[in-house]
Amino acid sequence: MVLFTGPLYSGKHEAARAYAEATGKPWADLRVCEVQGMPGAPEDLQAAADELAANDIVLYTEVGSGLVPVDEEERQAREAAGRLSILLAERADEVYRVFCGIAKKLK
């Protein structure tokens, strides 16, 4: 699995397509999953990460650099989302961070 992480609207989707093209993998054949915040209940992050890691490409929108939310549920979701991204990066063969449409390899 290849993980593309980056802020909202940073161009992760386009970067992943460019990656697929450069590596000669037809986009239509790839299993791509977009993760924004925390998908579903944050109880079992390991299981969620295992499931997501079965994709070829995961696009992860970073949500942790704003103010801590006042709402407890939102706070926990944000915490879980950040933790999930770490677990995804551990499972990924390659990790790219996308900023202003440009991908930089972190792993």
Partner: protein, 199 residues
């Protein structure tokens, strides 16, 4: 040579951008014009105070300030630039995209439309004239440094006006990053390059 410098609030992005243009200006023996494109509108005391601080920091360094709070003013500035010998090419700093996009998107005669969700095509149409103007400046400047604001760290917003703003700003960032020679993110005053690289 064009550099896009992006970063969060108070990350030191302006200071770093100023260092880049001042180094280019010094390298040209201070013979080239040194333009500072200011984008902030000054409707209240807080913004006037911010402007004063930035002005004080630039004082005595040779900057000529030109106020371009919106796309029309920026296009008028670009139209004044002419091609010339390498050593006479202007050194230009624009600070910042966040203000430019806000002023352009929420101008009194357009604000109504900016509060309804925009589709990708509307975002592209909004950004296109700004990108064209910046490309013109990019071609005619010796050194161009553009400052942008990373306002995306909180994730998505339910407010359509805020979401439109983030989408337009991000689209401008991506379009400019595509033709810029260098792109960096500044944190704690230090640059991390995603494209090209300057010290």
């Amino acid at each position: 040579m064009t550099t896009l410098v992006a970063g969060g609030a108070a990350s030191g992005k302006s200071e770093y951008a100023e260092r880049l243009v001042e180094a280019a200006y010094a390298a040209a023996d201070r013979r080239s014009p040194l333009w500072y494109i200011a984008t902030m509108a000054a409707p209240d005391d807080e913004s006037r105070e911010r402007i004063r601080k930035h002005r004080d920091r630039r004082a005595g360094k040779g900057y000529e300030t030109v106020e371009c709070p919106d796309g029309d003013a920026l296009a008028a500035f670009a139209a004044r630039l002419t091609s010339g010998a390498e050593e006479d090419l202007p050194v230009i700093l624009l600070d910042d995209f966040g203000n430019l996009v806000a002023n352009e998107l929420f101008a009194p005669d357009r604000v109504e439309a900016a509060l309804h969700p925009m589709n990708d095509e509307q975002v592209a149409r909004f950004v296109q004239p700004l990108v064209e103007t910046l490309k013109t400046i990019h071609r005619l400047a010796g050194t161009l440094v553009l400052v942008s604001n990373d306002v995306f760290g909180d994730g998505p917003s339910d407010d359509p006006g805020v979401d439109n703003y983030m989408r337009c700003l991000a689209a401008l960032d991506r379009s400019v990053a595509a033709f810029a020679d260098n792109v960096c993110e500044v944190a704690a005053g230090l640059p991390d390059y995603y494209k090209g690289g300057l010290s």
